[in-house]
């Protein structure tokens, strides 16, 4: 049995599209990410431009996800305004420096980011010609989910460091 908050987030679905309309990202539930491309788009633009668009999408998708997430939290677990402690400041400083990475199973796509603001996406040159655009989308999705898992684990490490162990 999930909590009221958990149930609402498990039912959450957000999406974002790049301004050119060619790259679409979705988040379902807590962290399940899926990225798709318009038919033929990866083949047309090549890996460098595709990586740039995925990078752009990451910012939009993260903003959309956090907006929906905060609305749900406000409804089910209203947040108090608590005094900020030295412990909080130290934790927040570390979170702002937290670097997360994720890559596809075959290593052809790698996503990294610092504090969910500075993103870098690398797609191996020639990948699209080798596997096709649909497969590239699957590999980007794999890397994105690995990135999210690494980010969640990193946040937990910092929380343990500052609030649990410390």
């Amino acid at each position: 049995m999930s909590s009221p908050l958990g149930r609402a987030i498990e039912a959450m679905h957000v999406s974002a599209t790049t301004p050119n309309g060619q790259v679409v990202g979705e988040v379902t539930g807590w962290y399940d990410v899926r990225i798709t491309f318009a038919d033929g788009y990866p083949e047309r633009v090549g890996e460098a431009e595709l990586a740039l668009q995925v990078q752009r999408l990451a910012r939009l998708l993260f903003a959309a996800r956090m907006s929906a997430y905060h609305a749900i939290v406000e409804e089910h677990l209203p947040q108090p305004v608590l005094p900020v402690t030295d412990q909080d400041r130290a934790y927040e400083a570390d979170v702002e420096r937290l670097e997360s990475t994720g890559q596809s199973g075959d290593g052809s796509v790698r996503i990294s980011g610092i504090a969910m603001t500075q993103w870098a996406v690398h797609i191996r040159p020639g990948l699209t010609d080798g596997v096709g655009g649909a497969r590239v989308a699957e590999l980007v999705t794999e890397a994105a989910n690995a990135f999210v898992r690494d980010r969640v684990a990193g946040v937990r490490r910092l929380k343990n460091l500052h609030y649990v162990v410390g």
Partner: protein
Amino acid sequence: MSDLIDKANQIVKKAIEWDLSQEGIYPDGHGGYVMPGAYAPMPASPGYTMPGQPPPPPPANPVQPIIDKVVARYDDVPGLFEPFTWCPKGGDFQNMSTGMLPTLQRLSSGQIDSDPVTHSPVVPNPHLDNVATVATDVDNWHGEAASNFVRNYQSHFRTVAESQFIAAAVLKGCLEAEDAMWGEVAANIEQIADRTLSALDKMDDTGKNGFVFGLTVAAAVVATVVVLPAGAALTAVAAVGSAATIAASATDLEFSGESAPVVVDHMRDAIGKLKQQIVDTETRIAKAARDMGNLIESAPVNQFYLNRPLLAAEPGGLGSDEG
């Protein structure tokens, strides 16, 4: 509140899983826990036995002591919620408080036309009005009995009727306060369970894991004062009633917790404070009822009751209410 214990068990499960995950121990999908990579699972027995000897016992699970320690940490949680599954519920006192309304109506002479606790209008009993005007009906009645009637009965009737009306209103207020209080108890304990579960789910969120438990039990019951007619002197009596609105005066307990033990500790704290609010509020309600009872017992004749007429003690069947 039927699923309150289910929620308590979920809190225990989530907290245990969180604590064990910090040790690298995870649910095995079959109701147990495993520490991946810590040891190779061993068969229950080595597969052979010495002739005439019992098979050796299965190897002990090396993480069992950790599991036992974590499980013990949350042993008390279902017991904290259990009393709330059988305590009174909002609505349990509704019939009794509604049942007091005809009593108020019978005792309302029209001099007081509203419930002094709730200020709701009360339809007066026209028969009581007649007592005030009975003197003209018995103008031709003279003698000791007539003057005794006026002195001992008619002249105090209004005070006694109004005092009894107010006493009944105080009792009705106590019943409504009970109803309001237990209604809020149910809402508060459900909120504590739900928000504890939610806070346990939100623990890996990047931001601070804050949560608020709003306790509204004390605020559900308001104090008021009713005034008894007592001739020239008026006696103010403390009473309680159900609050019309409680949102503004709720007690918000604000916490944050980044680990399951801390979240559950705050939950324990909130349940403790809720129980204290119940005790304090029950004490206030009981005091209002007891004070009124004491007042009735200690009040002089002609405040809550009239002198018993001598006729009642005489032969002839006048001693009973039907007489």
